[in-house]
């Protein structure tokens, strides 16, 4: 009996095999490359020929003048993106939920979803034009309100805000759809009961819709913790300029410069490894939290 079951399930397990092989080849084997973080790596000598230098690459990075600033920028930009990227879609989802005409609802959904499909290369050019202090539409509107034009992309006080807001603008449509889906899964009888008890729209939202969405919200927050060191390479790379290195340079752009401008692969890998280790810890914590708070488990 037992053997029979095992035999029955074997083909199903075999279906896993191609996926496993792909993950092994493309995700695990390349991980061996992290050893060059501990080597004075020259591409000609390769892994086996390059001398071991312990933690020197890490020390080199810590000795670089801007490392502290870069780590801070990364954390700050990423955290703010997570927070803003959480609240905006929830609010939009709740508001859209109140819209009864389905064609308006769908139209809005589609429109806010659109920027998700544009690359940062294109959006970068658009933002430079939109935010220009002399001709940009944003400053033109601020001007109507009597506000002096602001040079958003060249001002260290504003640049992080631009990064965060433009990221939210690009991505909130996507998350909104997730939350809308969560709202539809709330049991409609609860609303009927609430109406019987005399609850208005606001009370319904507060006491039924929001608690109903809670597991998904907690899940989204905890999962995004793993991204805390990803402040968004594409975006920063396309928008940054010498004036805002101070507030806009992040770990990923620093790694890019070291690896591709200076061909110092050992150092770049060291920074990357550092980033990965911290990210790994954060992901572990977030999965643990997701399990505790939202009863979410991968396996």
């Amino acid at each position: 009996m037992k053997t029979a079951k095992w035999m029955r399930e074997l083909p199903l397990h075999l279906l896993l095999l191609p996926g496993l092989v792909l993950v092994l080849v493309y995700s695990y084997v390349p991980m061996l490359g992290v050893v060059i973080a501990f080597q004075k790596f020259t591409i000609f000598s390769g892994w086996f020929g390059s001398p071991w230098i312990g933690l020197d690459n890490f020390r080199f990075v810590l000795d670089m003048p801007n490392t502290g600033q870069v780590i801070w920028n990364t954390l700050f930009i990423a955290c703010m993106k997570i927070i803003a990227g959480l609240f905006v879609p929830i609010v939009i989802a709740l508001l859209l939920n109140e819209v009864t005409r389905s064609f308006i609802k769908r139209g809005v959904q589609t429109l806010i979803y659109l920027p998700h499909f544009l690359s940062w290369v294109i959006l970068g050019g658009i933002l430079i034009d939109l935010l220009s202090p002399s001709e940009g539409i944003v400053n033109a509107m601020l001007g109507k309100l009597g506000i002096e034009p602001i040079f958003f992309l060249a001002d260290n006080r504003w640049f992080p805000a631009v990064l965060i807001l433009s990221d939210v603008w690009k991505e909130f449509g996507f998350s909104t759809i997730v939350y809308l889906a969560a709202i539809t899964s709330v049991n409609p009888t609860l609303y009927e009961a609430a109406v019987m008890d005399g609850a208005g729209r606001w009370k319904q939202t507060r006491h039924i819709t929001l608690p109903g969405m809670m597991p998904i919200i907690v899940l989204m927050v905890t999962l995004s913790l793993g991204n805390v060191l990803n402040a968004g390479f594409d975006q920063v790379f396309n928008l940054a300029n010498p004036l805002v290195y101070e507030s806009g340079d992040i770990l990923d752009t620093m790694i890019y410069r070291i690896a591709f401008n200076d061909a110092q692969y050992g150092v770049a890998t060291a920074v990357g490894l550092f980033k990965s280790v911290v990210s790994f810890l954060l992901i572990s914590v977030s999965y643990w939290l997701a399990y505790r708070l939202a009863n979410y488990r991968i396996f």
Binding site: T42, I43, F44, S45, G46, F60, M64, P65, N66, I128, S132, P133, S134, F151, L153, A154, N241, P242, L243, Y245, E246, R257, I258, F260, N261, D262, A263, Q264
Partner: protein, 574 residues
């Protein structure tokens, strides 16, 4: 003792004889059977030098045939960068074009592409190729890649084959810069690469001014730096485009700050500052141009101009492409840039009838003539992988290039620009081993060009090595004002300005064109620091005195070490 010597002698002769017979057996064509390795090369030579055993060390190498054909043909595996903008005559492609056919027909070299990559991707792909240990036999590299490959012992020593196979014409052209380019490709006495010799004389930042605006505002052409600054002010304040709005700027600058277009280098030169250049100071030591006190004065002036609205308030976020758009939108009246800037302006000129730009020399702050800082005379290198079977093929291909582009076989309509259906297709980029004309050659050619245009006599051009294609369009433009030839004619005006102003010691070539270990480590940081500080100073976000902090930081963060390495390297070369 004597006996031993005699045995050694006999052995030596035998070895040489063996090597010599081995060589002559290995191929049918005598010219193509020149030994490729260092050891066999010298032993074959010593075979002719009556067998003195000691001759193997420094025997003069035999002269090879610069155009000897391989029979049977050989295959040469190459990697190369290609550009999206290249067009090919009908039926041709990157794999089959006029150059590759000539390599095969004349030299018996069949080109096989291991891989090709877009110019922007080439370096990255080459690094991957180097990392994976599968180098092609022949490829081009940058100065820093050359140094890396040389240090790693990956490159074939070309000293012998260069001496043997390079034609006299090739050698003359390659030495036209005083030998600086070849020296930069030589490591420990070994020539490890063929330098792409270029003429830095093409690079000086000229002052380009919109002469239609000058006329409109009744201004005369600038003679002094004060004139230039007054023009910048007038272009900003006096509404030269006549649209009633204060939307014009005196000077165009892009956020990269330096370079061949919309750069601050020209203005720096006016203050005798030479940014991003290794210059020799009074004591003969190499220092970095961007950290010298003259640079501080330049930045102070730029800050002043920025405050006065003479620079685009937003230049800090605009790259060259975006600035070019603004030029087309009638916003700028002045820009520093190289002689070929008219090609950048052409779009704007076509869109705005009446717009005209003319080049002027940069006047200096104190009346002593300005110098223009220019780059190194080697703009790139072609290398041969160690162990490649036919390193001399590279030299032969170079000979071919020099002969058909700058020599007796010069045939413009075939190898440089092919005319097809009235379209001019540039085929010269297909040449795998290139080298340009050095300053001396360019100057001679330009002088001939000038004479030919002034006398309208094309026959005066027959000895010119280069730039002959500027004759027709320029003469046509001067006669008819045909807008299609506007850019070529204006480049010629740029040449004239250069010839009259930037020759001899007024051309300041960088003292060092390579890469040092500390540069590899720190340059990204230092370059970032420089651009960041300078941009901030110009935009008034930092005071001019921030420059002193920058110099101190620059030295501390690796600049001092780099200068020491460069000075040591240069003194070791003497």
């Amino acid at each position: 003792m004597k006996r031993n010597q005699r045995i050694a002698l006999v052995c030596g002769i035998l070895a040489c004889a063996l090597a010599a017979t081995g060589c002559s057996d290995s191929g049918k064509n005598a010219a193509s059977t020149e030994p490729s390795g260092k050891a066999s090369g010298s032993s074959a030579a010593s075979g002719t030098a009556s067998g003195t055993a000691s001759a193997s060390a420094s025997a003069p190498t035999e002269k090879g045939d610069p155009f000897g054909k391989y029979d049977p043909p050989i295959e040469l595996h190459v990697a190369r960068a290609v550009d999206q903008t290249w067009t090919y005559p009908k039926g041709d492609s990157i794999d089959n074009n006029v150059w590759y056919r000539e390599y095969e027909n004349l030299l018996g070299i069949k080109i096989v592409h291991d891989w090709t990559a877009l110019t922007s991707e080439y370096n990255r792909k080459l690094n991957v190729s180097i990392a994976s240990g599968s180098l092609p036999e022949l490829f081009s590299v940058s100065a820093s890649q050359l140094k890396q490959l040389a240090d790693a012992g990956q490159l074939e020593d070309l000293t012998g084959v260069y001496e043997q196979y390079a034609s006299d014409h090739t050698k003359e052209l390659q030495h036209g810069d005083g030998g600086a380019a070849l020296a930069s490709a030589t490591f420990n006495g070994k020539l490890l690469a063929i330098p792409v010799v270029n003429a830095p004389i093409y690079e000086p930042n000229l002052l380009w001014i919109r002469t239609d605006w000058l006329k409109k505002l009744n201004l005369s052409e600038p003679k002094t730096l004060d004139d230039v600054l007054k023009i910048a002010e007038a272009f900003t304040k006096q509404d030269p485009d006549g649209n009633g709005k204060p939307d014009t700027y005196g000077l165009a600058v892009n956020n990269y700050l330096y370079g061949p277009i919309t750069s601050i280098t020209g203005l720096s030169n006016a203050f005798h500052a030479y940014p991003q250049t290794w210059v020799k100071d009074a004591s003969g030591k190499v220092v970095y141009g961007s950290t010298q006190p003259e640079m501080k004065q330049t930045l102070a002036k730029l800050q002043e101009m920025y405050k006065a609205g003479e620079l685009d308030r937003e230049f800090g976020v605009k790259d060259g492409t975006k600035v070019a758009e603004d030029i087309a939108a009638n916003k700028f009246g002045m820009a520093f840039g190289a002689n070929w800037n008219p090609y950048v302006f052409l779009d704007a000129v076509k869109k705005n009838p009446g717009m005209d730009w003319m080049p002027f020399p940069v006047p200096s702050v104190d009346g002593t003539p300005t110098k223009a800082n220019v780059g190194f005379s080697a703009s790139g290198y072609v290398v041969v992988r160690k162990g490649a079977k036919h390193p001399e093929a590279a030299i032969k291909m170079l000979n071919l290039h020099e002969e058909v582009v700058h020599g007796s076989r010069r045939n413009e309509g075939q190898f440089i620009t092919v005319e097809e259906n009235g379209e001019r297709i540039n085929t010269s980029p297909m040449s795998l081993v290139q080298s340009g004309v050095s300053d001396q050659g360019v100057l001679e050619s330009l002088t001939l060009l000038r004479k030919a245009i002034e006398n309208e006599d094309e026959s005066l051009l027959k000895d010119a090595l280069t730039e002959t294609d500027k004759y027709g369009p320029t003469v046509d433009y001067l006669k008819t004002g045909n807008i299609e030839n506007w850019a070529v004619a204006h480049q010629y005006f740029g040449f004239v300005t250069t010839m009259d102003n930037y020759t001899g010691d007024r051309l300041l070539m960088t003292a060092f064109g390579g890469q040092t270990p500390t540069m590899t480590d720190k340059w990204a940081t230092l370059d970032k620091l420089e651009k960041e500080t300078f941009t901030k100073i110009i935009m008034g976000a930092a005071s001019v005195d921030e420059f002193d902090t920058f110099v101190a930081d620059w030295n501390k963060l690796g600049g001092e070490a780099i200068l020491k390495e460069i000075n040591d390297w240069l003194s070791a070369q003497k």
